[in-house]
Symmetry: C2
Subunit: 237 residues, 2 copies
């Protein structure tokens, strides 16, 4: 093969990889918006906004299937190795997490619709919307770290998930107290509990995204490792 | 390359693919046992069994990481195409679901440990152990369909997930009634609710496994499609 041919193919390949990264970020952007809208709908009891989240879930699913196909076809046609291959396998995993974040946003929106049919005292909503903004923030940061392939930020965000868990547990404890004090609030409190649970899961998925970033940049699988071990591995890299 | 060399490589490759399938089934077997033990521990209030489930979760995680590495190295070294590539990308996704099923079994076991510290009335456990056995059954069937690459069974099992959801919803409704009738039962009922939720998720993950089987056998991504559409696609294949 002439050098110019092989250069041409390699440029095309680069373009395909770039294209797929752009699509993952677009999917991430949509999913982030879904989370933001879901949290907003819950906070403001905005059924219309919640219905929009439910409707757009299909778009998220379609994006996942399309990126998935593109990844598989790149592997088949380009037979990538090393870093390029890691990028693609990491994307294959990352879009599953993005899709599930979309599912959780969808669940939160459904809780908004269920809550819309009930009495609405003011309390409980402040904490959950604080948690919602926090979770949305780490998702945005994770996507941002992916765009910049920044492993130091990825590690920082993965660590932050611990704080999400602490906030989540405090909300659950508080809701249990409300339920015990006033059994009439049980149904409503449960809706809020499921919504909080979804937010906590979104935190977990965001953490997974960060672990994929570390994997694709330095080639080490850091899932299931403690933060200390992760830090050590990153320092060595 | 001499024909005998290429035959030799292809035999080696076949052996590697077989080996990876065996490992996925071993991981599936372990995860299935974790689910069985978790459900049993809940039903019998067996803290020791529950602790065993929590301990073994690390093994599941290790298996995921090992299979993951093996898949990536096969793609890099063997540059598989078509069916072989589909098998590997499907496995990459399937082991994520298996690992999360392991996580859910772990969560159920933790609920057993939490329940062990509370009063234990007999009611509520029958329904949840029926659901547990049902979920365990569809997980086992899904793994079995994977071993035999049986798409008809895969479709049947994916359909069955709808019944799991119905059973799950009935349990949740029942638990809400108990909570309202007797607020002292709230903490205990919530533990059972989270356990039921974990079982429902295991059903979802088992359904995902079935969708990967269909994908790897006929090359069509049937996720997010209705049962009717799935049936149509399988009939045509």
């Amino acid at each position: 093969m002439a050098i110019s041919d092989s250069q041409h193919i390699s440029q095309e390949f680069e373009k395909e990889l770039q294209d797929i990264r752009t699509k993952v970020l677009a999917m991430g952007g949509l999913v982030e918006q879904q989370v933001a809208d879901a949290v907003q709908s819950l906070k403001e009891a905005d059924s219309e906004l919640a219905q929009g989240v439910v409707r757009k879930d299909k778009e998220v699913n379609k994006m996942e299937v399309a990126i998935d196909e593109e990844c598989t076809s790149i592997i088949a046609l380009r037979q990538p190795t090393a870093g390029d291959l890691r990028l693609i396998t990491a994307i294959l995993k990352a879009i599953t997490d993005l899709e599930r974040i979309g599912d959780e946003a969808n669940s939160i929106a459904k809780r908004t619709l269920s809550l819309a049919e009930q009495d609405r005292p003011k309390k409980n909503y402040r904490e959950i919307s604080v948690l919602g903004n926090h979770v949305r923030g780490i998702l945005r940061d994770a996507l941002d770290a992916f765009a910049r392939m920044d492993i130091d930020d990825a590690l920082k965000i993965a660590k932050e998930d611990r704080n999400i868990d602490i906030e989540y547990e405090a909300i659950i404890r508080q809701l249990i107290t409300y339920m015990m004090e006033d059994p009439r609030s049980i149904t409503r409190s449960l809706d809020l509990m499921w919504a909080a649970r979804s937010l906590e899961r979104i935190g977990d998925h965001s953490k997974n995204l960060c672990e994929y970033i570390i994997y694709l940049v330095i080639g080490k699988d850091v899932r299931h490792l403690s933060t200390k071990k992760k830090e050590k591995i990153i320092k060595k890299s």
